[in-house]
């Protein structure tokens, strides 16, 4: 990091957290630091490494599917690729991405605190994350090869296959533990460490969504923990709890799996929604529309999202009453999500919209998330779900929500906060070019999946009928465009860290939240004195000033 390049703080007085000299020097000063900002950076580096790995596996999958039959790998290897892609992207990238990186770095700052409630627990959860990640990587190199079950580890295949399922399961178990500790930490932090003048309805909206996410993490993750542990025990000891050959019930496994894994979808998307609510008012230079509705809809999503898991199992067999209830609840979740979307667009209305890179990603989020969300509601209808279940329509749908939603929100957050975190500005023009390439490539990659899935192309299939060839071909070309865009975006960041223009201005974008009132990059203690919050953070009294302030 840049710690050794600057001797004094960028502002000439107190050193920033990057230069701050704690008990340990060099790398130890990072991996033993309990400073929430340094832990955030640790997560940034490790999560991004896994993200790149996930991208590589996704790229290889798409390359294999460019033509029917065997193209680059065997069917068995292809199964391993999609499992690794899923496990890495879900457990190692998208769940920890926004809460663990930006939550760690900015949650305490946004509520005017010096750190999270349990700093050492925070560091421990990073170590657990790394342990889980290494276990997932070990499954690749150990004899037997990585799991080929898909990220859902469905019984009975996950008990029968000879691949290293146990490594992948233990990895997910440990990552879940890490996620629980982060959630526990954030709930306590929000309750106990808000600056005294910040009442609940003065909290920034991203804090609301981090808070809702943290509750889901705490309440849902233990279920997947015990379920995956039971599969491990099943494999090692043959206790029969899930194995149908011994009397167990594989459908019970699916229920337990989705009781966590559906709420996990909201662990992934809620922080993204928080980022959107945070960035939109800043670049529309306008008060957020419906603050309380956005705040409560986060809680409503967390609540209803926990009650819809069986919509993943409409084809498995369930009572009619069960199907009806789960279908209804699934559609109910769309309401709080739609409330948010309408509030965001209402915020844009009569705003003075500035198309800076973070804002571009946010606008793309609203567009892509709406496609993902609406295709999701379609699947809540049982008749349609049975038609498109396990087709690439589903794959298209959840990539629109997860990548087009959370992924784009994550990129927006990178563009919004990285200059604050490192005190270096990236090249705006290059960032915008990268955005358009990513946006274009994304749609070329995933939209054909919606079409061919609707026409009957099953997901996870290695081979396909000739009529699906054009869609697969276009989709694969899309993956190349997307990756090109990602390369431009990340090189832009890397260049900016080394050679980017130094920024010392406190308020880079004209935001009203607390992180823009402290030094860039923040000092070790964040605040010189305990900040006083007068109103909720989206009052643009000095709107004019913010607009006229020189653009970065």
């Amino acid at each position: 990091m840049a710690s050794d390049t600057v001797a004094l703080g960028t502002n000439g007085h107190e050193p920033s957290y990057l230069e701050y000299q704690g008990k340990h020097k060099g790398i130890l000063g990072w991996i033993l630091s309990t400073d929430h900002k340094r832990i955030g950076i640790l997560y940034l580096c490790s999560v991004l490494s896994f993200f790149f790995m996930g991208v590589v596996f996704g790229f290889l999958m798409r390359l294999e599917l460019i033509s029917p039959g065997e193209t680059i790998v065997t069917a068995q290897t292809y199964n391993k690729f999609f499992t690794l892609h899923g496990v890495i992207m879900i457990f190692l990238f998208i769940i920890p991405a926004i809460p663990a990186i930006f939550g760690n770095f900015f949650l305490p700052i946004l509520i005017g605190a010096k750190d999270v409630a349990f700093p050492r627990l925070n560091l421990l959860s990073w170590y657990l994350y790394i342990t889980g990640g290494l276990l997932a990587l070990m499954s690749i190199v150990m004899p037997g090869g990585p799991a080929d079950t898909g990220w859902t580890f469905y019984i009975p295949y996950s008990v029968r296959t000879d691949t290293n399922v146990i490594y992948a399961l233990m990895a997910a178990f440990i990552l879940g533990f890490s996620s629980i500790l982060t959630g526990l930490n954030f709930v306590t932090t929000v309750h106990r460490l808000r600056t005294p003048s910040m009442s609940w309805f003065k909290m920034p909206l991203s804090v609301w969504s981090f808070y809702a996410t943290a509750w889901v993490q705490v309440l849902a993750t233990p279920i997947i923990g015990i379920t995956l542990l039971l599969v491990v025990i099943e494999r090692v000891l043959h206790v029969g709890i899930f194995d149908p050959a011994l009397g167990g019930d594989p459908v019970l496994y699916q229920h337990l799996f989705w009781i966590y894994s559906h709420p996990a979808v909201y662990i992934m998307i809620l922080p993204g929604m928080g980022i959107v609510s945070e960035i939109i008012p800043v670049f529309a230079h306008r008060t957020i529309f419906g603050y309380k509705f956005i705040a409560f809809s986060s809680i409503a999503i967390a609540l209803f999202g926990s009650l819809v898991w069986a919509h993943h199992m409409f084809t498995v067999g369930m009572s009619n009453a069960g199907e009806f209830i789960f279908s209804l609840l699934t559609m109910v979740v769309a309401i709080p999500s739609a409330i948010k979307v309408f509030n965001w667009t209402a915020t844009l209305y009569k705003g003075s919209i500035e198309l800076a890179p973070p804002m571009l990603y946010i606008l793309a989020f609203i567009f892509l998330f709406s496609i993902g969300g609406l295709t999701g509601v379609m699947q809540g209808v049982i008749a349609i779900d049975i038609q498109v279940h396990d087709t690439s329509f589903i794959v298209g749908h959840f990539h629109y929500v997860m990548f087009g939603g959370t992924g784009f929100a994550f990129f927006a957050a990178l563009h919004y906060w990285l200059p604050k975190m490192f005190g270096r500005m990236y090249n705006i023009k290059r960032a915008k070019v990268a955005f358009w390439i990513i946006f274009f490539g994304f749609n070329v990659l995933y939209f054909p999946m919606l079409i061919m899935g609707w026409l009957g192309m099953p997901r996870r299939y290695y081979d396909y009928l000739p009529q699906f060839h054009p869609y697969h071909f276009i989709s694969t070309v899309g993956s190349w465009i997307l990756i090109l865009g990602l390369i431009i975006m990340f090189t832009n960041f890397v260049i900016s860290l080394r050679k980017g223009e130094k920024v010392t201005k406190k308020n880079l974008w004209g935001g009203e939240t607390l992180e823009w009132q402290i030094d860039t990059p923040p000092t070790h203690e964040n605040f010189d004195e305990i900040p006083v919050v007068e109103d909720y953070p989206y009052v643009y009294k000095d709107n004019e000033i913010a607009v006229e302030e020189e653009k970065v």
């Binding site: 704690g22 008990k23 309990t34 010096k114 750190d115 409630a117 349990f118 700093p119 050492r120 627990l121 629980i180 526990l184 930490n185 709930v187 306590t188 309750h191 106990r192 460490l193 705490v218 309440l219 993750t221 233990p222 279920i223 923990g225 015990i226 379920t227 039971l230 025990i233 000891l237 043959h238 206790v239 029969g240 709890i241 011994l246 009397g247 167990g248 019930d249 019970l252 337990l256 070790h524 203690e525």
Partner: protein, 208 residues
């Protein structure tokens, strides 16, 4: 890291007993849900195999189970007494009661060990030939029995380690009469272990 924090500034040493307690309760929530998943599995299979569960439960030794329940309940009492002692600034008494808690926990584990050994001796253990020849309800009952009491036993072992650390903290003066939140949280954890056993005991031993 308290020492590290003390070096930079006194105000950085942040003590929040209420926050620590809140964090502990959240953690206990997650533990309850963890075991809740297993209780759910248990009730599903009990519902689908009532006859076989009924007969299999008769294999378990109720006397040993009752004895273990008494031991664990008493250990919760000694845990509370150790906290009460430290609140009254009686360090030695507190350490004595913590030691007693550990001793009772060890007794519990020893009993458990003999109970399991007898079952193993009869060839009843997960994946054993005797068991695999039985009906699926029996396999499930004993599968759940070993997994649930096993996971509970693991929690007892972890508890023993934590209480041992607390004994050291108390003797070194880290846990004192005006700063005993660590011991209190340990107590909360220990009561959770106790409560889970109180549910395991009737489900496996008493409902026959």
């Amino acid at each position: 890291m308290t020492t590290q924090a003390q070096v930079h500034s006194a105000e950085h040493v942040h003590r929040d007993d209420l926050g620590a307690r809140l964090g502990m309760w959240l953690f206990l929530f997650t533990e309850l849900i963890l075991f809740g998943g297993m209780f759910l599995v248990y009730s599903v299979y009990r519902f689908s195999h009532p006859q076989e569960f009924h007969i299999a439960a008769k294999e378990l030794n109720t006397i040993v189970g009752t004895f273990n329940t008494m031991i664990l309940l008493t250990s919760s009492l000694t845990m509370v007494l150790s906290i009460a002692a430290i609140q009254r600034d009686n360090k030695k008494l507190s350490i004595f009661f913590q030691f007693l808690t550990i001793l009772l926990a060890v007794f519990f584990m020893v009993n458990k060990f003999f109970e399991w050994s007898v079952k193993f001796h009869h060839g009843i253990y997960p994946g054993s030939e005797t068991l695999l020849n039985e009906k699926s309800g029996d396999i499930l009952f004993f599968g759940l029995y070993y997994v649930m009491t096993g996971l509970h036993g693991l929690h007892v072992l972890v508890g023993i380690v934590i209480i041992a650390v607390m004994m050291r903290f108390t003797s070194k003066g880290i846990v004192t009469h005006d700063n005993y939140i660590k011991l209190e949280n340990t107590g909360l954890y220990w009561h959770l272990v106790d409560i889970i056993w109180i549910f395991l005991f009737p489900l496996f031993y008493l409902i026959t």
